[in-house]
Amino acid sequence: MHDFKRLLGYSKRFWKLNVLGLILAFGVILAGLYVPYITKSIVDDVLIGRQFEQLAPLVVALLAATLINALMRYGKSYIFEYTSQGVLYDFRSQLYSKLQAQSFQFYDQTRTGLLMNRMVGDLQAVRQLLNTGYVQVIEGVFSIITTVTVMVMLSGKLTLALVVIVPFIYLSTRTMSRRLQPVYRGIRQAFEDLSSYVQENITGIRVVKAFGREDYEIELFKDITAAYTNQNIEAADIRSVFIPVARLINGMAMVIILLLGGYLVIQGDLTIGALVAFNGYMALLAGPITNANNLVNQWENAKASLEKIFQLLDEDIVITNKAEAIKLDNCRGEVEFKNVSFKYGNEDVLKNINLHLRPGTTTAIMGDTGSGKSTLISLMARFYDVTEGEVFVDGINVKDLEYNSLRQQIAIVFQETFLFSDTIAANIAFAKPDASQEEIERAAKIADAHDFIMEMPEGYQTVVGERGIGLSGGQKQRIAIARAILCNSQILVFDDSTSSVDMETEHQIQQTLKEIMDNRTTLIIAHRISSVKDADEIIILQDGEIIERGTHDQLIELKGKYYQTLMEQYSEYSQYLAKNELGLDLGGA
């Protein structure tokens, strides 16, 4: 009920139209009531009474009433479509805003399929409710009141006899509602499972095919579709019991009218015309009565969806701006991690990190898989909040900064490249949609992407699909680098961004990047020594802790993990080359 009230709240801005619509709805009902009345007159006066001269004016009245009725019906249904679409628009808009504001943690834990269902399927169910649902309830009530009033005027006794059907109507709607509720929830869930499964299967189809697991997947799918189908059948079985009941009740009412009405006519308490008219009015009631069950059905269906939608809208957002959040202007690019620890679930990802990135410097981070390197970036850009300690940018705690202004000053090239369904140019200009072609090409040249882009069929206007299908790993990465460069931000982050690029290309990129990196604070995460050796400071992370730090030369001196890595990467080659080609002695393993 509370959800329903909230739903109605969305209609508030259309209240004037809604009122007009309701007025039209009432008009329709009244005009509709007029018809049996005229029919009664026609039957009693013209057909039975043989007053044929009455026919013409009565017919004209009938036609006029129907015409007005038709126009009002059109107007009414148009208005309610208009308002329900308007509410739908608002819902979509709000949901989208909510999704945009949600934190990384939310997306870690929520399946795409589920979100898609909220935005698409669940909204549809709600729309139907809005469009016809509550209007039909009001119409139904009004219709019943007015129709019953007229019926009472025609014959109080007959109307009284019909009261007996009311408890049956009530019972059937209530029972149906109770039994449908859990089943509709079940359908929702089964549908979500279905779409999530398909989503994953299609996204990972290459793995399916690589392992030849098509048959396996087909078997799994059988179970999932069976579950969905069974839920639907269960719902239909319930409906099969209750929906025809409306007709049954109507039919019984007709029987009562026939028997009792006939008796009254025989006794002379009622005219045949009145009986016929009464019949006609009863037929009018058939609509609302049948609707009652349908509406319950619709409501139960929509309720499950509505619940889920509001749940999504009400979901907490973990990363929010403080009320007096500071905007980061004229960023110097000074980043400091003070005693930072970060825990994800039960895992200690980072422990007591102390790091100072001075403006204009380049810091490199190396470390084993899962040692927490990427997490540092997430904490700096405030995609997650620290568990302990503080992160400062330009001396201000990131929690006190307006997070969008913070992120505008940090350009990140992620480990996994995601490109949007758009032209290459649009992808590069992602952060700055109104960037000029020169700016875009300049960024692409620095990322060593310009050449291969020009070789593509439509050059910069070539459309790349979701996940950048059609491009090699290295090409995607270079576009991602160009995208970051175009941001022109004070802080640059490269998270293993040249892993798919060969060394020659990597070196070229590094050279051209040097100019850019000069006045900016750069953070590089990499595995190759060649990627990190020129950094002002190199940090070695292990199990979430900093175990070594220093320049390339200092770390070599240390003969610790860095040195070990260097040796591992250059072991046999270094011996060979050092001795035979370059006359060097690394004194290594």
């Binding site: 795409t112 398909v198 994953e200 007709r247 007709m254 029987v255 898989t369 480990q415 979701e466 190759r528």
Partner: protein
């Protein structure tokens, strides 16, 4: 470019062929459908008897004060009402089951077909488009399959019976009354195309919306990192605005139907009264008949109203079915030839004979590739980015077929081998480490579905994934979600690696598998790989020469051709392409 239509607006007449194909899915259930129709017919009959009984009552029993006969008639009416209820109830159950089961079959067929499609297809089609067809478009047909067809038949039956009753009772009056029907039909036909086009437009806009939402959700991290919320929000509002306006466009015409039918129906009534009155004047008819005619007329127009609503439903369903069949008809490029055999004992000799291939017909990626690999040999594939290395692997695993030439395993063309068998014997580790939703152990087990926990742990240990897995919340039974968001890229790679290892293939392909793992772990992996490469023919693609160092032979691909091939020492001595690639890293190391 795309294999599936970008929902362009085509105004085609109702495709009979397509409807036939849809009906094929209902065919297995034709007995149930028949029964359902019979039930509906019965229900309709009992429904229609009502007015007849009413007529008799008014004319005879009430007029002649025959109360007993009235009572009996009423009881009969009551009995018919209950009968109708039972018929309706069974009918709903039956119709729904039939429809749902037919839908189930359709959905499964579609999914199964998609599983068999080739890499080429998936390379050119967005996942979202495929999903929409399997999940949503099939659902759109649900009303059609469950209620639609049966309702149409029933309404048609009602229509026919009502007309028949009228004609039987009083042909002249019937003819005059039913004259309005053709007028309405013509009106319907005239607006048909306009309505169809508008609903099509709505579907297009909705599809755009869904694609946009999908992309935004999947790429939300990038959107937030690049503070793109405002711009994307602007676009989003434009997209939902489009949906809104296209919907209202369609509604403008759609809403007119109901009222129009009402109007025509009342005109029909008026005709009945007018003509009926004239007939009454000459005693050609009874009052009862006139009244029952009004009832029959209502029972004539109601079905027409339903049918016109159904027509709209049908249009929507047709749009969906078009898309479904488009996907269903997508060609299976890579199939097992009818004479294809299972691979028994695989030695592992691989040969590429005169291979030429290009993803597009006019752009060859590989040209005249000839290579003979002995069983158990490890071949390292290197070369500049985009030279054709991944393509080479795709041909070996038969994800694509070559334009020219043959790929042979143990002397047999792989096209002559059953695909499932081929896949069992070739293990592939792809560039993108894809993790399914499920537990860690489920993901690894994908390599060998019936592996025991010990086998999984053993393999995990070999790739040095065991340690970090044990550290996770529930160890091997930790749930990792779609795209393995809780795992770092390196961890994902290791799990994928374990997967391949568990499959224990005869031929192994590693495509840049170790590119994003730190050097230390990579070295340990290297040792495990070395062990595994024993007795297996292997192809390794990597950028890091330290990985390739120990291969039996190194193949340098440049510009789609094998530029150099030989052992590491041989190639270094050549001072050619390989030497350059190899010395590059040290060159830059010392450049500072």
């Amino acid at each position: 470019m795309s294999n599936l239509s970008s929902e362009d607006i085509r105004a085609k007449a109702l495709d009979v062929n397509q409807m036939q194909r849809l009906f094929q899915y209902l065919k297995p259930y034709k007995l149930q459908l028949l029964l359902t129709c019979l039930l509906m017919f019965a229900a309709a009959l009992t429904d229609l008897l009502g007015p007849y009984l009413l007529q008799r009552s008014v004319d005879i029993y009430i007029a002649n004060a025959q109360f007993l006969k009235l009572l009996l008639t009423s009881l009969l009416y009551a009995f018919l009402v209950v009968l109708t209820y039972l018929c309706n109830r069974i009918k709903i159950r039956l119709a729904n089951r039939t429809g749902q089961n037919a839908l189930l079959d359709l959905r499964r067929d579609l999914f199964n077909h998609v599983q068999r499609l080739s890499f080429d297809f998936f390379g050119n089609t967005s996942a979202g488009r495929i999903m929409v067809r399997i999940v949503n478009d099939v659902n759109t047909l649900s009303n059609l399959f469950t209620n639609g067809i049966v309702n149409v038949l029933t309404e048609l039956a009602k229509l026919v019976v009502a007309s028949m009753m009228m004609i039987i009772i009083h042909p002249k009056l019937a003819l005059v009354t039913l004259a309005t029907a053709p007028i309405f039909m013509t009106l319907l036909f005239l607006t048909r195309n306009a309505i169809k086009r508008r609903w099509r437009m709505v579907r297009v806009k909705l599809s755009n919306l869904n694609s946009y939402i999908h992309e935004n959700i999947v790429g939300m991290k990038v959107i937030q990192a690049y503070v793109r919320q405002k711009e994307n929000s602007k676009r989003f509002h434009s997209v939902i605005g489009d949906v809104y306006s296209s919907w209202m466009e369609a509604i403008r015409i759609n809403s007119a139907f109901g009222p129009a039918v009402e109007l025509v129906s009342v005109i029909g009534n008026i005709i009945i009264f007018w003509y009926g009155a004239r007939l009454l004047a000459i005693d050609g008819i009874t009052v009862g008949v006139v009244i029952s005619f009004t009832v029959y007329l209502r029972q004539f127009w109601q079905p027409i109203n339903m049918l016109s609503n159904f027509y709209n439903q049908l249009l929507v369903a047709m749009a969906s079915s078009e898309r479904i069949f488009e996907l269903m008809d997508a060609e299976l490029d890579i199939t097992s030839a009818p004479e294809a055999v299972e691979l028994e004992k695989v030695q592992g000799a691989v040969e590429f004979k005169d291979i030429s291939f290009g993803y597009k017909p006019d752009q060859l990626i590989l040209k005249d590739i000839n290579l003979k690999v002995k069983p158990g040999e490890t071949i390292a594939i290197v070369g500049p980015t985009g030279s054709g290395k991944t393509t080479f692997i795709n041909l070996l695993a038969r994800f694509y077929d070559p334009n020219q030439g043959q790929v042979l395993i143990d002397g047999r063309d792989i096209r002559q081998i059953k695909i499932e068998s081929l896949r069992k014997h070739i293990g592939v580790m792809l560039q993108d480490p894809f993790i399914f939703s499920g537990t860690v152990i489920d993901n690894i087990r994908y390599g060998k579905l019936d592996a025991t926990e010990e086998e999984v742990v053993q393999v995990a240990k070999a790739v040095h994934a065991h340690d970090f897995i044990e550290k996770m919340e529930d160890g091997y039974y930790t749930m990792v979600n779609e795209r393995g968001a809780r795992l770092s890229i390196g961890q994902r790679q290791l799990i994928c690696f374990a997967r391949v290892l568990l499959a224990d293939p005869d031929i192994l392909i590693l495509d840049e598998a170790t590119a994003s793992v730190d050097t230390h772990t990579e070295l340990l992996l290297q040792k495990a790989i070395d062990k595994l490469l024993e007795g297996r023919t292997s192809f390794v693609i990597a950028h890091r020469l330290s990985t390739i160092r120990n291969a039996d032979r190194i193949m340098v691909i440049d510009n789609g051709q094998i530029a150099e091939i030989g052992t590491h020492d041989q190639l270094v001595a050549k001072r050619g392409l390989y030497y350059n690639l190899y010395t590059v890293q040290y060159k830059y190391l010392h450049a500072s």
